[in-house]
Symmetry: C2
Subunit: 695 residues, 2 copies
Amino acid sequence: MAPSLLSRLSQEHDLVLKTFRLLIADLCQQFNGGHPGGAIGMAAIGIALWRYVMRYAPHTPSYFNRDRFVLSNGHTCLFQYTFLHLTGYRAMTLDQLKSYHSARPDALCPGHPEIEHEGIEVTTGPLGQGVANAVGLAMATKHLGAEYNRPGYEVVNNHTWCMIGDACLQEGVALEAISLAGHWKLNNLTIMYDNNQITCDGSVDMTNTEDVNAKMRACGWDVIDIEDGCFDVAGITQALEKARKSTEKPTFINVRTIIGLGSKAAGSAVAHGAAFGAEDVKNMKRAYGFDPDQSFVIGDEVREFFRDIPERGEARVREWEALVDRYAAQYPELAAEFRSRVRGELPSNWRDLIPTSFPDKSTATRASSGLVFNPIAKEIKSFVVGTADLAPSVNMTWPGKVDFQHPSLKPTSGPRGAYNGRFVHYGVREHAMASISNGLAAFNHGTIIPVTSSFFMFYLYAAPAVRMGALQRLQCIHHATHDSIGMGEDGPTHQPIEIAALYRAMPNLLYIRPGDSEETAGAWTAAVQEREGPTIVSTSRHAVLQLKTTRREGVLRGAYVLQEAEDAQVTLIGVGAELSFALDVARELGGRGVRARVVSFPCWRLFERQERGYKREVLRRHEGIPAVVIEPYAPNGWERYADAAVCVTTFGHSLPGKAAYEFFGFDLDSLTGKVVKYLGDLEEDGLLRHEFMQL
Amino acid sequence: MAPSLLSRLSQEHDLVLKTFRLLIADLCQQFNGGHPGGAIGMAAIGIALWRYVMRYAPHTPSYFNRDRFVLSNGHTCLFQYTFLHLTGYRAMTLDQLKSYHSARPDALCPGHPEIEHEGIEVTTGPLGQGVANAVGLAMATKHLGAEYNRPGYEVVNNHTWCMIGDACLQEGVALEAISLAGHWKLNNLTIMYDNNQITCDGSVDMTNTEDVNAKMRACGWDVIDIEDGCFDVAGITQALEKARKSTEKPTFINVRTIIGLGSKAAGSAVAHGAAFGAEDVKNMKRAYGFDPDQSFVIGDEVREFFRDIPERGEARVREWEALVDRYAAQYPELAAEFRSRVRGELPSNWRDLIPTSFPDKSTATRASSGLVFNPIAKEIKSFVVGTADLAPSVNMTWPGKVDFQHPSLKPTSGPRGAYNGRFVHYGVREHAMASISNGLAAFNHGTIIPVTSSFFMFYLYAAPAVRMGALQRLQCIHHATHDSIGMGEDGPTHQPIEIAALYRAMPNLLYIRPGDSEETAGAWTAAVQEREGPTIVSTSRHAVLQLKTTRREGVLRGAYVLQEAEDAQVTLIGVGAELSFALDVARELGGRGVRARVVSFPCWRLFERQERGYKREVLRRHEGIPAVVIEPYAPNGWERYADAAVCVTTFGHSLPGKAAYEFFGFDLDSLTGKVVKYLGDLEEDGLLRHEFMQL
């Protein structure tokens, strides 16, 4: 838009700004809560974005090539909700808009934006992660564009706009992602920084006095300053348009704003997280020339200002669909594949790519993961596989893999990459890896299935992002290697004693510990077919035996009987890297006249999905057979399935794997002795059946 | 040291460098594993540091005013171990040095440095955290110096040296901490960056192409470049000495090195995490003029080179002790306090500062925390209390508190601070907050007890650091507010459904949910008296009733009977913010003729420390009384203490607190109905006793 036209519109903007700001004040005032200040400060940015720059279609919210908008400072959600309403998103009626902070369970205006709702691209709220999500969304565009665009047919070329506050620039996950976006030269990504210099505690200079523009430039970003971010819609619009045209770098737009502008609390932390009070809201209305006794006023001029947006959006959708039709005529096979990806489909043959059997030799399950999954990754373009600098350890590379890199990059070591590459080196940035992967997955349901990989311990760094993936039911597959104390010498800092307790408790997530290659096939099958949620495939560093009776179908049911026994006196539950221990102990017990059955139990959540009958059949605790689980983790939660555990309740110890197992009593003699003693104790004191025993 | 002298020493340095590098190669080769490359590349830095610059005392390793050294790239631990040996730390014999990667359970050379061992300041390994630990150590010096130094008596003025690799500059936690160190102008902190441009996956430019020096300058650091970091001991020494003298800023020394210098793998990722192979090690020895068939050779000249270090250290200790003696003569009271702090003592009256009773009105337990702890924080200087930008929410400020800030800072809002301030605004940097706090605690056992505060959910961001605090048994107290779904409108992104599962499983850590002010008094009492480990005090956002029968002593035992019942038919377990629900349900059940007893259960780990007799008496499950726990969390682990749970197994929902409780069935009617139905089901099908029921 020409600058002259924009400035002629400034009166109109003035009215829209006032209307918007009063709406926010009213929406918070009605329930006397919420976060008004940021949304009010960002009003002019919103007008520039939703009215002039962003390409989207309110009546076709899932239009594939739409620009993506991420509100990383998710507590300012009213900013987004209100623009969704003004620009004509059908679900966001004024009535719904007013549901913010109400007790309506069906409200579309939760305290932070949630992906389920129309016009919301990702769920945000835990600060910083939105930035990484936006990097993932921008990557998705670059990746799909490189794969599917042809000269004259830019079927994927959207832009990603990320709104952030001061806090997002303090969080490590954002800083990691910013560094990567600069490295990858994601020129289709723009951060709009609501620089109001206020956080909850007060002025930002209490905690941050760095030169943010210089820092962003050092990270490979272009920087544009906007001095009057509260009113200069024209200046912001020009900056956004310049950002969209950037050819080399992502753009950081540093917009000076005033939090809670117009209220008494303006410019102070008080404006951040509390309503202004009825009197102050009235005063704002008076000052703006509005009726102080009317609320939620949206005048006709304001309605008019946004009126043509849905239709412009629909025209855009039709244009894109026509483009894809012409593309399909020119490149029929490519277009068929593209359309299948747009529908989020996986080629139906993916299961056939998994080996039906494996060499009968000891294999680390991290290596089994490679045997199982790399053929899928190689063939099926939906998978974008990354690692947080542990490529040599996690076995996730396939022959001929191409790295996702800007094509101009000539790394000192290794081959050049390209944007259509599907292997991502994230560097040592676990949190950003998982959070960017959420963005890749959120681009469009099922179009990209991101896979991450690292040591299991470092999924604690990534945990906030893994959680957000689970909350959003995004299919991300995390390959977590070096689980259990068997990982050895790296010691307690790397031995994930208690990390599984978190992931087993996390809703919507499958945490699976396979025990050999066959079970690893089951684990990856479960992960790939779990289209509505993330999976952690948790594998061993060290080689484990191939067991005869393991079954991938058993893994899909969470737990299954590996070895039944007549008149069993005890059930041994084996898990993952230590599954063979359970079989060995059962054999040894047999030699001592104790009849033991063995259950393999790779995944709690899959087991919980089974019918009660199956569960009883597997565990047989209702028959009074005590169950002992063998796993060198904190036992929390095993109490549901077992009466006792050989477990680890301290942190680990730096020793070679086998020695570490022995140190903690995970050798055949100790294990057998503990089970025998437990059964004896039970016989002596029946009351122990009421208590979970750590052996 | 004069430059001329240093260059005359270059021949000597050459021999030490070769000896050191071959030692590292041999130490890895003996067990064919480990991380040789980084340690070898950093050899010259080590000589500059341990021989010329660092102030320490190998024979008095815990000398209070010693310089602190942190190896953030902990996998290069052989670097540190070998210098500990060469400089005369008594525990680190050559025999012990050789225990690296051995199966000796008593080895002093675990795969990453561990705080328990002589000469190790903090346990490192999970990358990036060492940087934050070092920031905490440097803060401790500034803080204690500001509090206790007097003109002519600098009783605390040590320097902190932090060694990092390329990876540490990628991790978010380090980036957060770097920003804070610049903000606080910690001129007593130096980062030595082993810039070898190699990580596991290959060259750093595959994942990081930013201008690191410019980024550090933007964050408020001085930058010094060293071009020839492999050999230029003189140049590095001068840089380190300049860094120590810095008056305004922390210093970042960018040292170009070559990983695995001298081996065939030099300069490549192969040198990072694998031994070089016997033949390559022999070739290195030949090239260096050493006997290829001899290993672990440390010649007399090399021994001589380091010989006087222990004695110089002892002289330094004597000098400091004499200084403190003179200081004590001049400032007897201050010195007495200082010496008490050095011994890590708490004033014996701390318990008396806790109110003995509380106003009988509904109070959020986050506010109760303030009532209980702020009087202690105000009086007792050991406590350094911080928040990740949630000061208005966490209630941890006391009248007259002074912020920890550089005295020159004039923040736009709020008063000026000082280095002797004890309230820390960390900004929105939860991970750095916890990791810096570990550094504060590690400075000297008990001298500083850091307290952090944020919403419970954001302790997932901080989890890797909370874990390292637990692993090191550092006393850090974390005040985690807004626990449970009762926190309301912020919604599922902020409702910590499954986070307690992690912390209840984490060894050495107390996770305590108090149910009212009286129990909050118990929780903080437990936290303060837990001198060998961290505590999370987990509190509510919303007001809860003051209950009549709660007892702080009960909290100290983890669980206790709140309300006994004759011939009880069910035990209701109440927890934290929902404790009153259990009492209400018991009353309601009574009205329906069901006799219910009530147990308050704020902390699993404290309960586990009790005798079996006490545990049985509290739970009475051995009498066949079924127990039902009421807590809106994932129930994982409650199976140990209960037969059934009214719990939450999905993510939360954005609703006002009361509505959120009702949405998930946590209202009197639903709760009572569920318990009644469960008891009925049990009567009908006894087998259910073998299964944990989610009601």
